[in-house]
């Protein structure tokens, strides 16, 4: 359910959680994105950090620079504002993926879990245009939704201590890309040669909340064509 007015929760004396709904849904997430972009554009003195997520926006602020009541007022005003400057359209990114084999060590397991072939898993995975619900977990990790029910798969029982950079994986109805090497428990279907986090680049990751992602399969020998 989308809330009519934002719900505020304190996370200590320097972070405020603004909740706009109580579930994962494209429309609630769109509202989070709108509020995030409006607040970002307003450059409110005292706000140090904005972290938009599925259904909430975390605002980290300096309590000596802005009072909590004033901060809540700005949020409420911007949330209700309907005639402001237009919100920019999200970007769309096509992402090449080498599926299976050493690039996607869990593809066969996922296929067996659903009693279908690995090729069918890939067909389902490349079908949707995914929405970026949030970036988190590690720098640049996009939480994408939603994976078709036919291949929705639980996390691995034992997470891997090392998931290679570029791994494309699923967990339940979410899919994501590991932009840096990290531990991880999602089922790895494939690997993309595109880079999703580079601290030396601007912006450091190509995706932001609300952007769209479409995966498409490539063969191993095509990898060099995609490495810039």
């Amino acid at each position: 359910m989308l809330y009519d007015i934002p719900t505020f929760r304190l996370m200590g004396d320097r972070a405020l959680l603004v909740e706009l709904g109580d579930e994962i849904s494209p429309s609630i997430n769109r509202k989070v994105r709108e509020l995030f972009l409006k607040l970002d554009r307003e450059s409110v003195h005292g706000i140090k950090e904005l972290v938009p997520a599925y259904r909430s926006l975390m605002i980290v602020y300096d309590p000596l620079a802005i009072l909590l009541t004033a901060l809540k007022e700005v949020v409420t005003r911007l949330h209700g504002e309907t005639h402001g400057p237009p919100i920019p359209e999200p970007k769309k990114l096509d992402v090449p993926v080498v599926y299976g084999g050493r690039f996607g060590p869990d593809l066969q397991w996922v296929a067996d879990f659903h009693g279908i072939s690995p090729e069918e898993v890939v067909r389902y995975h490349v079908q949707p245009v995914y929405q970026v619900y949030m970036i988190g977990f590690t720098p640049g990790f996009p939480y994408l939704g939603e994976v078709p029910d036919a291949i929705a798969t639980p996390r691995r029982e034992t997470p891997r201590t090392v998931v290679p950079q570029g791994s494309v994986a699923i967990a339940q109805r979410q899919t994501g890309i590991y932009p840096v090497q990290s531990p991880g428990g999602w089922q790895i279907l494939g690997w993309t040669p595109l880079r999703f986090f580079d601290a030396e680049n601007w912006p450091p990751t190509p995706l932001e909340i609300g952007d769209r992602v479409k995966f498409f399969p490539i063969r191993e020998k095509e990898i060099p064509d995609w490495q810039s």
């Binding site: 004396d13 320097r14 972070a15 959680l17 995030f36 720098p139 990290s182």
Partner: protein, 325 residues
């Protein structure tokens, strides 16, 4: 800016990283703040060597760092007393010292606290990445080439000779924090305290927790009373942003105080350590005991104001004692 090589690492010890006051503004890209866990110590040490408070310094964990001065330089150590010594002779924390070319600075073992902060007159000049010099260890960027310090690494500073005059400045004893083994951390309830029944919230306050050896820069893991959520609720919540000091309770009921290397999470948070007590989180070490004391927002804000007042007075004092020429 005159960049001068000031220090060479002879032995890095178990973990020593370059940190400043953190990387803000990139949480939207999933980038956590990193930064000195004990910001009080880094800020104070910087002031004592005539630096801006936000300058990068070294965060030394528990023991072992040994470095050599490559030129005349002034240094100050804030935070935990890891028994620092120059050329084998013990020195105090919270006071600045001049080092001559060839002098050795060495940290033996913790007498109190967990992390010492070394400020060097002229700062530690590593490349600023995404607006900060702090090391992000898990994603390997920032700091000294994204890694902990290694043997033979050479650190540089800006015009260190202009800071030498700060030799001998000190933080007045009454402003120095005390580090024991039994900690009382002030918290504000929430953001998900209501997901825990009253019995759990009481248990959370009643008995001390023990700090587990699995603690690191990502979080302080606690063991003790199990904190159960309401039985009708699942283990996870929809992922959301998390801030340093928030105390999450995973399914096993053992709380974790989140530090500065995490920006999102999917567990319920029963309470959050107040801003003025965050610096202590950098000094809590495995085996210590932690209790939580709930306060209200006014108390939390009062404590931050008091902390900033201390810094204002310290800056005034140092600039009166050591006027800029």
């Amino acid at each position: 800016m005159a960049i001068v090589a000031t220090m060479e690492v002879m032995d890095p010890g178990p973990l020593c990283t370059v940190q400043d006051l953190g990387r803000y503004g990139f949480g939207r890209y999933g980038v956590p703040p990193s930064g000195a866990l004990d910001s009080f110590a880094l800020r104070a040490a910087n002031i004592l060597v005539g630096n801006r408070e936000c300058e990068a310094g070294l965060e030394i964990t528990l023991m072992g760092l040994k470095i050599k001065a490559l030129t005349g330089v002034v240094v100050a150590i804030g935070g935990g007393d890891l028994q620092p010594a120059i050329n084998g002779k013990s020195i105090e924390t919270w006071r600045s010292y001049g080092m001559r070319k060839g002098d050795f600075l060495h940290f033996k073992s913790p007498k109190n606290g967990c992390r010492a902060y070394l400020a060097v007159g002229g700062g530690i000049l590593v490349q600023s990445v995404l607006g900060s010099r702090s090391t992000n260890l898990s994603s390997r960027f920032g700091g000294y080439e994204g890694t902990p310090l290694k043997k033979k690494d050479v650190l540089s500073s800006d015009s260190p000779e202009t800071h030498v005059k700060f030799d001998g400045s000190a933080l007045p004893p009454e402003w120095r924090p005390l580090y024991g083994k039994d900690w009382v951390l002030r918290v504000l309830w929430g953001p998900q305290d209501m997901d825990f029944p009253e019995k759990s919230r009481e248990a959370f306050l009643d008995s001390p927790f023990k700090v587990s050896p699995q603690s690191d820069r990502t979080g302080i893991r606690l063991s003790g009373h199990l904190i159960h959520r309401r039985p009708s609720l699942g283990e996870s919540i929809i992922s959301e942003g998390v801030a340093p000091g928030t105390i999450q309770v995973p399914g096993d009921g053992q709380p974790i105080i989140i530090l500065s290397e995490t920006i999102t999470g999917g567990y319920r948070k029963i309470a959050t350590v107040i801003g003025a007590d965050l610096p202590f989180l950098g000094q809590i070490k495995p085996g210590d005991q932690v209790r939580f004391d709930p306060v209200d927002l006014d108390c939390a804000l009062g404590a931050i104001e008091q902390l900033e007042e201390t810094f204002r007075r310290l800056r005034e004092r140092i600039s009166a004692e050591f006027p800029m020429t």
